[in-house]
Symmetry: C2
Subunit: 109 residues, 2 copies
DNA sequence: TCAATCGTTGGATGCTCGTCAAACAATTGG
DNA sequence: CCAATTGTTTGACGAGCATCCAACGATTGA
């Protein structure tokens, strides 16, 4: 069975206010900082400071990020592979992700 | 009586997640797009698409933006003069405001 | 001095959101 | 085939939030 992708907005439908709202949460902003360097698979986030959260809570945050157009999720068997929509976001809002990455680095060294 | 400034966080205390949360609202993001070109005085925002909002609602949004470190408010008599904290934000999160400005221009031309 | 102006504050209301728990669906290893 | 794994969905609950309204305080023009 080939892999599938969970539904996500088209690049031109990504709205700035929804992106900002999605990232204006401590948990989701930390997820962004994880995704900003290479893809990770979802929910198994041991050792990332999210151990205290229930798996359904993490799943909820992933959905918010995906529906805002921030991330892209590929379904492969039992696992979900999540990655940033780097190209799409850079095309739609040039410089935004770079500024966020620098901001995250400068805040929690 | 000399002008006063309403309380606001120090530059080094501005948190990225609070900025993103403050801007993750349609009304406040529109306020940002107003402030992004020159200062404006508060609450009297006729003809900016915010006529439908009660003055206390606008006052609330202004407070959120100020407490997040996005704007700075000077009290002069009965009026409040609000402006972006351009320098502080550029120093703290380089490129962020520029990216947001371009994003706002590209979205609602 | 007095009334009009500008904005804030407090309460009230309804909606959204973050979180957990339990049940569920899908997949896979034995 | 069965049990363990992986993540989603649904419901519930409390907190936060956006909004309006009324009342208030401060300021200023007449």
């Amino acid at each position: 069975m080939p892999d599938e992708w969970l539904p996500q907005p088209a690049t031109e439908d990504i709205q700035l206010v929804r992106v900002l709202h999605a990232l204006g949460d401590p948990v989701r902003l930390q997820l962004l900082s994880v995704y900003l360097r290479g893809q990770e698979f979802a929910c198994d986030l041991s050792g990332l400071g999210l151990d205290h959260l229930h798996k359904s809570t993490v799943s909820h945050h992933m959905k918010v990020l995906r529906e805002a157009g921030v991330t892209s999720t590929r379904v492969s068997g039992r696992n979900r592979f999540v990655q940033l929509r780097r190209g799409d976001l850079d095309r739609r809002f040039p410089g935004l992700l770079d500024a966020l990455l620098r901001g995250l680095e400068g805040e929690a060294p």
